[in-house]
Symmetry: C2
Subunit: 322 residues, 2 copies
């Protein structure tokens, strides 16, 4: 079976394209028509075997996750998904694998009305590269450089379960208690927060980022881009039941430097508290206020229940760290 036949069989799936897709798969380019006056948001992520997923990963979960991490970038800008491209290097043409991968991919694509509009398939070591396109009204994008001193700091959902699951799968001693399916799903099938992100953009939120490298490290990107500092009220952080039994050092590590959370970390002025609460309710997404933005550039303080600073040593995940 040839390359083109592979693509046709498994990737010509009829996600409802909405009005934005003028021309989908099968030409030199896809053609999209964004809503009048809107800006286009684009992001690319590449997933590599052995680094972003285990060689024996369930292909259906992989299809879901590959798109989820990209949709999460749109969510963090407050952009509405329009479509995506998929470039795929495969060591062999394994039909069962492709069918399961496509199921996971299109399950999530359908749920977000985000159609596959083009891509590429080639032979090579397993590698997935997805680029997503979304749209957002001018001035409403949730940029990293938009945090202001005095803003509240919020998080959607909760952090740490993906990291706990990863350590469990690696056989790390402190992570060997049995995990629920719900906890495992946080690593294997993350839920991008697009409905929330879109509502935040019109609710007056300022800055946002999606949590891929860990709460503290990703917050650092906002602080650096905005030239501000922050305080996190550690005891305001929502803690999943699976994390409550962990040794305290590992619990903080998971919560603050876990990685792979795909939750939104965002800021908004106190005047927007009611609008933020409405956005959370309307999108059925739990949102917790966990701290505030301060004026000191780059200074992150972690406060205990008495408002006193704690010194924690944390390391953000880095693909090139040795």
């Amino acid at each position: 079976m040839g390359e083109f036949e592979l693509i046709r069989r498994h990737f010509q799936h009829a996600t409802d394209p909405g009005n934005a897709v003028v021309l989908g798969i099968g030409d030199d380019c896809a053609l999209l028509q964004p809503s009048p006056g809107h800006q286009l948001a684009v992001s690319s992520d590449m997933l590599v075997e052995g680094r972003h997923f285990f060689p024996d990963v369930d292909p259906e979960a992989l299809g879901h996750k590959a798109l989820a991490v990209n949709l999460s970038d749109l969510a963090a800008m407050g952009a509405r998904p329009l479509g995506f491209t998929l470039a795929l290097a495969l060591p062999r043409a394994d039909i069962d694998w492709l069918a399961a991968f496509a199921r996971g991919l299109f399950g999530l694509a359908d749920a977000h009305a985000c159609p596959l509009v083009g891509g590429d398939t080639t032979r090579g070591p397993l590698n997935l590269c997805i680029t997503v396109f979304g749209e957002v009204k001018p001035g409403q994008a949730l940029r990293r450089d938009a945090a202001r001193a005095g803003d509240d700091l919020y998080i959607s959902g909760r952090t740490g379960e993906a990291r706990l699951t990863l350590e469990h799968l690696r056989g790390t001693d402190w992570a060997m208690a049995p995990l629920s399916d719900e906890t495992r799903a946080r690593l294997e099938r993350p839920t991008p927060r697009n409905a929330l992100g879109i509502l935040l953009a019109s609710a007056g939120a300022h800055a946002a980022i999606d949590l891929s490298d860990g709460l503290a490290g990703d917050l650092g990107h906002i602080l650096s881009a905005s030239g501000v500092g922050a305080e996190i009220d550690l005891f305001a952080l929502p803690v999943a039941p699976a994390l409550q039994a962990l040794p305290v050092a590992q619990r903080w590590e998971c919560l603050l430097a876990g990685g792979d959370d795909y939750e939104l970390l965002f800021t908004a002025p106190p005047a927007a508290r009611e609008a933020i609460a409405t956005a959370a309710t309307s999108s059925r997404t739990p949102v917790t206020r966990i701290g505030r933005i301060t004026a000191e550039p780059g200074r992150l303080r972690l406060l205990d229940a008495n408002g006193l600073p704690l010194a924690l040593s944390l390391r953000s995940f880095d693909h090139f760290a040795t």
Copy 2:
């Protein structure tokens, strides 16, 4: 050195962004503002070591080619480049390699005012995935399904030198004559035909495709999408000096099924001949009329100098062919 530092050092290059880039590298998404009312053209290509380039490839040539093959897709739609994303898996952080790669990449990006707006870098077997964005006026995109019986068939530049160079590098016996730098450059540093493509879109051209898999095979995609047939006047095909000394079978193979040409194959009604000639002159791109579109769906006839059909056996390049 960490992942983010790598990206910052080598990929924060100041290509003049024009007016379209609202927000470039460094946030969850880039933000683009297409011209009012325009459609967005997008395309992704993935290049893998050992399949699309040799392991010892000159990294500067590779940087050029990775973007060139994507720009060529925009050219084939008649779309003006707005920007691109790059996702890169690297086996190690080799600074000299990255610097040379970036030189080749940004040399071409600058020439097309097509800035890098985002991307991803990770450790893994060498893999490059570029997604390009362009804009085109509604109704002007050069779609594969737009060829009409009676259209003239044109090609830009000439085909076959990339294939000859590939066979030369592979040590194939019929390809061992010394090659000029100009011939080698057709494989290693192809020239995407964007200026021509943009002018063709407003000159009334109908269908277009860029030649990546070989003239005959890529023409087949137009015939199939448009439900038409075609005749190629073989003796009208421009033949590079390097191909003139080849055995006749290999010459046809290079010309008609060479692959990696990145020329435009397009159709236009005879009434547009003057406009097409003007587009060729204005873009300083050689254009040759090589045949015509016929009414018989899917039928491709190759005609000799006397207008008589020739039977040639040709095979299009396929990454999954065994």
